[in-house]
Subunit: 187 residues, 4 copies
Amino acid sequence: MIRKKEQILTSAIEIINRRGYTGTTMEEIAAELFMTKGSLYYYFKNKSDLLYQCHQFVVFQAIKDLEEILNSEGTAAEILTKMVAIHIEYAIEEKETFNLIMESKQFFNQEQLELVQKLWKNYEQLFAKIISRGIRNGEFQTKEATTARMFILGGLNWIQQWYKQNGRLAKDEIVSLYSDYIIKLLK
Amino acid sequence: MIRKKEQILTSAIEIINRRGYTGTTMEEIAAELFMTKGSLYYYFKNKSDLLYQCHQFVVFQAIKDLEEILNSEGTAAEILTKMVAIHIEYAIEEKETFNLIMESKQFFNQEQLELVQKLWKNYEQLFAKIISRGIRNGEFQTKEATTARMFILGGLNWIQQWYKQNGRLAKDEIVSLYSDYIIKLLK
Amino acid sequence: MIRKKEQILTSAIEIINRRGYTGTTMEEIAAELFMTKGSLYYYFKNKSDLLYQCHQFVVFQAIKDLEEILNSEGTAAEILTKMVAIHIEYAIEEKETFNLIMESKQFFNQEQLELVQKLWKNYEQLFAKIISRGIRNGEFQTKEATTARMFILGGLNWIQQWYKQNGRLAKDEIVSLYSDYIIKLLK
Amino acid sequence: MIRKKEQILTSAIEIINRRGYTGTTMEEIAAELFMTKGSLYYYFKNKSDLLYQCHQFVVFQAIKDLEEILNSEGTAAEILTKMVAIHIEYAIEEKETFNLIMESKQFFNQEQLELVQKLWKNYEQLFAKIISRGIRNGEFQTKEATTARMFILGGLNWIQQWYKQNGRLAKDEIVSLYSDYIIKLLK
DNA sequence: AATGAATGAGGCTTCATTCAT
DNA sequence: GATGAATGAAGCCTCATTCAT
């Protein structure tokens, strides 16, 4: 059943986001899913495989969300702002699994690594697209758009380090500030 | 001898930066230092303690470097540019040990965590200082300087994810581009 | 299988009685049981946990044996004599595991300690019962029965220090002498 | 300096009585004595040697105390009572070092073991003496005095297991009760 | 007499993984 | 599909002991 696997994935993502990857044992993941270690291995070849699939699942979903926005109406700046909102949402809520790219080299094998990086390239491309659209239609001026994009994604991801629920700034205030920074930066 | 401990630290930093923390065993660190595990434990209580001291050592040095620049002559923009260069240097060269703040919660105990975060606050403050100096003398306009600073540091740190020696851009080109982004962003 | 655990327990008791607790490694216990260290840890959380369960197992069995006697027919003196025989049997044959109460504070954690002491209280109570029965029916006269009981148990346990198989006195001669002492002492 | 060694011994005894032998490292003993491990090894060949000397020191002193009493005036019962008081004092106050005979086989090597047991024999002989004196002058009647003596010493030593300062019974009440038991037992 | 430093053997424990049933 | 049991490699850490200075 593909269903079952997806269910496991969803729960596993939630667990890993809560307790971190290295800090969680297969035993614990299984326990929280009310299964045994053995069963987990029926669905996933590896701990690393489980992690890999969690990660891809989340990033894939994020991509879908971004694509939808990318296809909607609006100026580049407007769309970028919405994309920023999405990214921040994932970065905060799916912390561990989403942000695995940061530490991908530590956890994935060669084969996985390539696929992870490929998917992440896709992810980045969506930001690349909207930036170049903005450049084309005169909203943005940056040259070296690639470097700019990477700086921006870094700024966005970093939010994980300091964001606290019920902190001084609400999520949408952050989105608004960050979008401003980004747009300024791109001019 | 305090010297000896410092020697160990320097080497350990180098090793950990190369192989990652989790991926390095005490045995290996000892071996590379031509000592025995036991000796290592004479100087450091723990693996975690060793890591902690490595991290603090690097950050402390970075702070000293930044402070020197902060006390030199120049416009806020000029000084900020130099600071960006320093930060990038550390982020790239001392990758694993410098950037431990990202994963500090996974590796440090409560006591260590507090000290790590304290030192990191000091680090951030140096950037805060130059930004507010720029605001005061009219070079920069940002309100919400704190949030801006965090976005910026995120953007800078992210360089670890993609920088490759002998890549398309040389380190100083990156510094130059990044400084531009940052200054634009702060206007 | 609860059986398996019990099997392990029985063997472990035998080994520990032979080599002492501190002197026995998990490795060795595993080896004698023809298992691997890992398997041992499947059944027991800890070395300390294993020891704890060994101890409780033995004391529990001793209690059962004593209870049976306590419920049999006979004068208090007769029953006490039989109980002395049982106690001596355990003290000699299950030396290390039975007598762990002596050093319980060194080996058990708080939680275990409480349970160990609770079970041992139960054990003592059986002797308390027969003594007070004897007092009630006029066989014994002691006041301060509690203190007397402790003196007696001490005297009994001490046998571990000097008993040697094939020594001058046979086990049942010792039982007979000791019972006499005890009964005299209680008059 | 023999003085120095004796000083160390006295302190070490105190420390070991407080923290137990296995649970105390040479490092800790040295620290409490304001010396370094190295120095400790100047005075004692071994950890086991240190322990051995602590033990012998205490038992030797106890023997001296007992001998003095043995040479004083009084009925056998009177003298025995005083000896009980001494023994209990040592058993309680010098717990770990005095009572090492219980676990001597675990801690001492062959050579030490023989000397330990020899000294302990001396110790026992003092009790043997007073008992046989009592038998000779008609105060006591026991045959199998040796066995009786061992039972008695066991009863006395056991006090360590349950005695609590500020408990229900004061030390001298215990002495009085115990002496009564013993004298009854010997009649 | 004293010490700081180094050593190395040995023990405990964890955990991903496998596999027969 | 599921599970309980077993495995073994690997890592961390402790500590008595030694030794040059």
